[in-house]
């Protein structure tokens, strides 16, 4: 006579199954805990910051970011991030896109297998090494040569350095977008007699456009969140006036954060230190919004093909 117990298998095996499932579930939930902790940290620190400053708007909004003199004009560091981010995109977008189009549309299999890993090595380059390169090579050999008499560190230098770091990201996301364009579109184009260049510019690139937009947005998000090159090469140590010209010394959100934590303005327990959390909060929101827009464009490519 068969009972339910016989069909359920051994109890030990079922218990083990249940505990493994629970274990993996906990591991997955840790990621949510981390997000919650990030939000908690940023809210908590920002709250502390706001409770420690004197609410004198004429001082707070005085142009410039001078934490030790109680001047916290956020627009100074946000504009700094945007200027440096734009310079880096001017470098990274054409080169990253060019590399992507070449690898996806023109390169032979053999060239691809050699060049792709090299680009990936550039993607794995630690940003601090690029910071060193910016200070010891790009500054004396390029920026100070072209703009003679310019400062040894400025926003242009930081933008160029970050541009180098962003090229491989731009290249790899764009290449994914181009390769997801079905071959039948290219064949149809060749079939009606179009040349290669026409096929690439009139068929493949327009078909991949939402993926390319995603690449651009993800690259922008990386450029704004990049920290090391920005704090090594932009030229200011944690405080400075509002600056717009790439040849001026500037300060990014990330640079303001590293200096608040470890620089000369660090006074534990006081407002200049807690500014770290406020800036972190703003940076978090900006990059999150950019990444979400980017993800939406990536999804659109997947739905299309």
């Amino acid at each position: 006579m068969l009972t339910i117990d016989d069909l359920q298998g051994s109890r030990k095996r079922r218990n083990r199954e249940r505990s493994m499932r629970r274990l993996f579930q906990v591991a997955a939930i840790v990621s949510i805990v981390i997000s919650a902790l990030i939000l908690f940290t940023l809210f908590r620190g920002t709250f502390d910051f706001f409770s420690k400053i004197d609410w004198d708007f004429s001082k707070l909004k005085d142009t410039g970011w001078f934490p030790r003199r109680s001047r916290y004009d956020l627009s100074t560091i946000i504009v700094g991030s945007i200027v440096i981010g734009l310079i880096s995109l001017i470098v990274a977008v054409p080169f990253g896109l060019g590399v992507a189009v070449y690898l996806s549309e023109y390169a032979s299999r053999r060239v691809r297998t050699v060049v792709k890993p090299v680009i990936e090595l550039l993607a794995g380059m630690p940003s601090v090494v690029v910071g060193y390169f910016a200070l010891t090579f790009i500054s004396p050999e390029i920026t100070q040569q072209i703009f003679s008499g310019s400062r040894d560190r400025n926003m242009l230098l930081a933008g160029l350095g970050i541009g180098i770091l962003v090229i491989p990201i731009m290249a790899s996301v764009s290449e994914d977008a181009l390769r997801s364009v079905p071959g039948s579109l290219r064949e149809a184009s060749y079939g009606i007699g179009a040349k290669k260049v026409t096929t690439v510019t009139k068929v493949v690139l327009p078909a991949a456009v939402s993926g390319l937009v995603a690449a651009f947005i993800i690259a922008a998000s990386r450029a704004i969140g990049e920290t090391l090159v920005a704090s090594m090469a932009a030229g200011l140590d944690g405080s400075g006036p509002f600056a717009l010209s790439p040849l001026d010394a500037g300060l990014t959100m990330t640079g303001a954060m590293t200096n608040a934590a470890g620089g000369t303005d660090s006074v534990q327990g006081q407002a200049p230190f807690y500014a770290l959390y406020l800036v972190g909060f703003v940076l978090f929101v900006i990059t999150l919004v950019l990444n979400m827009i980017g993800a939406r464009f990536v999804r659109r490519v997947r739905q299309q093909y």
Binding site: I164, V197, M257
Partner: protein
């Protein structure tokens, strides 16, 4: 205007076709395009080559002055002529270890849950979206997280701003990378393998352990290796956590700490004391070369693993 008769139309069309087929025209646009693309590629490769060349040539005087063995084993000094990077290596070693001990098991566990166990509920979808967002959070923000949670709230465990706090922060930083790459590797396992296992009565964990994980192992390993490389090269959270950039007498788990990228950060722009043979920039380059060797080794290992993995897939 007179309408073209069929006859004249036909002759002109034939002429046009003949001209199109026989004319020797150079494809100017095509050549311009190809030259432009090659230019962008060559410039990118040249930048990489210049960067590597600059690091190597900058590192040579430091290695020559201090000696490679001394440079790796000595502690940080007050002059670039005598300074070594041992505290940096020590910190980076524990950061790598922290990633292996914390991020890898957690990440693989989460990936197994999301790919093998999770149903398509809103909660599980939320977890996935959340992981993707975490992967895009700037490293410096993870530093802020570590500063409050690991060095302040978990002070008992970490002892404040120590290498333990740094290792935990880096583990959290790379966790999304481990999860995403492991998920991709597990998703690439053919479902026939799973069905075969279920068909002979294996439970979900047995199928995962005996069929899915062995098949996905190279892909998971690739992600793991990449995440170690990322953690070794990242410096932003360490600055926030308060890694030391000056003299550091002794290295310990529960004392002040530093790591390789921090030394490069601190030395790159520092001016040398009078009378020294080499500059701090030389020391930074030598530390940079050491870091590059480590990071590129891990990255190259990941690329080789992945290529072998892909070849095997297309072969079957």
């Amino acid at each position: 205007m007179a309408l073209a008769t069929p006859a004249t139309g036909a002759t002109s069309a034939a002429a046009v076709v003949r001209q199109q087929l026989t004319r020797r025209s150079t494809d100017v646009a095509g050549i311009v395009m190809l030259v432009t693309l090659l230019f962008t590629l060559l410039v990118t490769l040249a930048v990489l080559a210049t960067l590597l060349g600059q690091v190597v040539s900058g590192a040579r005087p430091a290695f020559a002055e201090v000696g490679v063995g001394n440079f790796l084993s000595r502690t940080i000094g007050s002059s670039p002529d005598t300074s070594g990077i041992f505290p940096g290596l020590y910190g980076s070693f524990f950061i790598g270890l922290g990633v292996i001990l914390v991020a890898v098991p957690l990440g693989i566990g989460a990936a197994i849950y999301l790919e093998e166990y999770a149903t398509n509920s809103w909660f599980n979808r939320f977890i996935q979206v959340n992981i993707r967002n975490l992967a895009g959070v700037p490293a410096v923000v993870y530093g802020v997280l570590g500063l409050l949670i690991f060095t302040e709230y978990l002070d008992v465990l970490t002892g404040g701003s120590t290498v333990i706090a740094a290792a935990l922060t880096m583990a959290v930083l790379v966790l999304p990378i481990v999860i995403i790459t492991s998920m991709e590797a597990i998703r690439a396992v053919p479902s026939g393998l799973r069905d075969a296992g279920y068909g002979v009565g294996a439970s979900r964990w047995e199928v995962t352990r005996d069929h899915v994980l062995p098949y996905a192992a190279p892909g998971i390993l690739t992600g793991t290796v990449l995440s170690i490389a990322r953690a070794l090269g990242e410096a932003a959270p360490l600055i926030i956590l308060g890694a030391i950039t000056g003299l550091l007498g002794d290295t310990s788990m529960r004392g002040a700490f530093t790591a390789l990228p921090m030394l490069i950060f601190a030395w790159s722009g520092r001016s040398a004391p009078p009378g020294s043979e080499t500059t701090w920039a030389n020391s930074a380059a030598a530390a940079g070369l050491t870091l590059l060797v480590l990071v590129l080794f891990f990255n190259a290992a990941a690329i080789v693993l992945r290529n072998r993995f892909e070849k095997k897939r297309t072969g079957t």
